[in-house]
Subunit: 365 residues, 2 copies
């Protein structure tokens, strides 16, 4: 397959982890005969420095011509006192808006070798493999606001079309995963939640293979701690998704290695690590590239439909962790730590050796 | 002191745990020479059965003449199919509204002997001692709602006066506790949150002894899991408080023993266990009375200013747990379980013996 990818390294450790992720991407391209055409562009602080704009028109044009976007991270103290329009984060907000990336995918998976860092007991967290699907472009964060000296208000508003497209996306994701969908709302008090629940009920007729449940948001906030393995795909609105995806991100102790995606209905999407730009360690070559590498896997799966290739990357990352190889951020007492490049070498070596094993297996069949 | 208390046993295990709590209350009254005048009234399902009204006028009148309300629990399958106005829960909602009980206090404290039941690692949960203060009568749950075929909306609205009174209450509570206040909002996107944050900033001048911080709600959802002992008093709006108080309630494994209060500015308040009516074990005499007993302690502290008496009860409950005495819900493998009455006897015996020790200590000084 031929795919065009716009690469936006961004700020801080962004360029380093993206360089690592691109190395892995190229190995997969070679192994599976895909032609991944990469074009680099500026975003965030780097774009402000060069073009006085956190999302230059040229970057938008390049993204428009591509099949997916791979992003590192934006932000840093250098731009913290800039006016709102010249803040690095504005680049990220604008790109989501420009491309109408309404579905934010936040997978959380337990890595057995990282569970020591989890605040939860091993037996509670060890089988976690869930994905929060958050509506990203509507709801109360974007609703009308009013303010007087003595009163303030925010309007939470959702249209049927906004809910339908995110719910459809969540059903499709559940089909690609374990076939379970939990829709989260507060339908006992909110009108938006009642419309949301009604639409999920209507839509589920089209997806008879998916097991659907409705949970109230306060109850999910509890169950993400007491029984997180209960969940597969969790779909919810912008604000509930903001809270629950952050809550879920810490339960397995692997916050630093979580990937994410912001996608739309036609499979175009932006893929990025959940971690930030970590300016304090930028340029040292010690950043953890796992989240960026796993973001590439998400891109292959969700934008390009390359399931096998995605699994190959995820398995390699799993294997390297299971071998006890960590970058400095995750290293435990007395263990050696690996640089960004060394750790990426290990992932690529795993991909290579798994590939050889696959070829031998195939030749026996 | 002379205090009038309206006792509303309610449904399910409500009457049993309230009977236990009242026994403890009477012991404290005797020990400390307080005249607690108790008057019983109907609420919830019991009131529907007797008066066809989940909150009869007579109950309201009695509550009006009292200094505090002690409530058991409401609800049960018997009334599940009733119309909305004849649901037991309506009695609770109406009493909060009638008496303008705008501040919901939800303390969460780790009991060392219950930490095995926590989903969190012992070292993460063992020093937890926090209180979520939730605004209970305003915000998006009560704002204007609209619905068409293709759109739904809910208005989140807060007046300065609504925010000021809950923030004042939270500062007062922080003074009675460890002197730290965390105000939770989403001020980077919500107008209501910006007004909220501004008012906390204004108010903090009046409470120079309190250390104040502002946290975003998504960040608190994370930190309640990764570092819950960071928090003392946490104040937030109705919806954020709904989510965070439920999340916080499961971190120490002691959900079944948590008390709560709904109070207003003049110290009048309603005290009740967080647990529900548990109809499946009602009438068996095995319900855990700890939450109801601890609700009495909250009443003594927050409505009557009886700090020493409240601590006496809390210490006794602590001691009984530390002795390894549990009701059936908490009993661990192979340990004996105690009935509601037996467990209450143990608490009263602790109060008695602690009292004797206190008297001896005093006679030596
Ligand atoms: Mg967030
Ligand atoms: Mg709740």
């Amino acid at each position: 397959m031929e795919k065009k990818i716009t690469v936006l390294p961004g700020d801080g450790i962004g360029p380093e982890v993206i360089a690592a992720a691109v190395r892995v991407l190229k190995v997969i391209g070679k192994r599976y005969n895909h032609d991944f055409q990469l074009a680099y562009a500026a975003i965030g602080g780097a774009a402000i420095d060069q073009f006085n704009n956190p999302l230059p028109e040229k970057t938008i044009e390049m993204c428009k011509e591509s099949d997916a976007i791979l992003l590192g991270a934006v932000g840093g103290p250098k731009w913290d006192n800039n006016p709102a329009e010249l803040r690095p984060e504005k680049g990220l907000l604008n790109i989501r808006k420009t491309f109408d990336l309404f579905a934010n995918l936040r997978p959380v998976k337990a890595f057995p070798s990282l569970l020591d860092a989890s605040p939860l007991k091993r037996e509670v967290a060890e089988n976690v493999d869930l994905m929060i699907v958050r509506e990203l472009t509507g709801g109360i964060y974007f609703g009308e606001k009013h303010r007087t000296e003595d009163e303030a208000s925010d309007l939470n508003v959702y249209s049927r079309q906004e809910i339908e497209r995110i719910v459809d996306k969540a059903f499709e994701l559940a089909k690609l995963r374990k076939g379970r969908l939990c829709s989260v709302d507060k339908a006992n008090v909110l009108e938006t939640s009642r419309l949301w629940r009604q639409i999920v009920e209507e839509k589920k007729e089209q997806y008879p293979e998916i097991a659907v449940e409705h949970n109230l948001v306060d109850s999910v906030a509890m169950k993400l701690i007491t029984n997180p393995e209960h969940y597969d795909v969790v779909v919810t609105d912008n604000m509930f998704g903001d809270i629950l995806s952050d809550e879920a991100s810490v339960i397995t102790g692997s916050l630093g290695v979580l990937p994410s995606a912001s996608i739309r209905s036609d499979h175009f999407g932006l893929y990025e690590p959940v971690h930030g730009s970590a300016p304090e360690i930028a340029g040292e070559g010690i950043a953890n590239p796992a989240a960026a590498i796993l973001s590439v896997a998400m891109m292959l799966r969700y934008s390009f439909g390359m399931t096998v290739e995605a699994e190959e990357i995820e398995k390699a990352v799993d294997d390297v962790f299971n071998d006890g190889c960590y970058t400095a951020d995750l290293v435990k007492n007395g263990e050696p730590s690996f640089t960004t490049d060394e750790w990426t070498d290990k992932v690529i070596a795993k991909i290579d050796s798994n590939f050889v094993i696959d070829c031998i297996m195939e030749s026996y069949i």
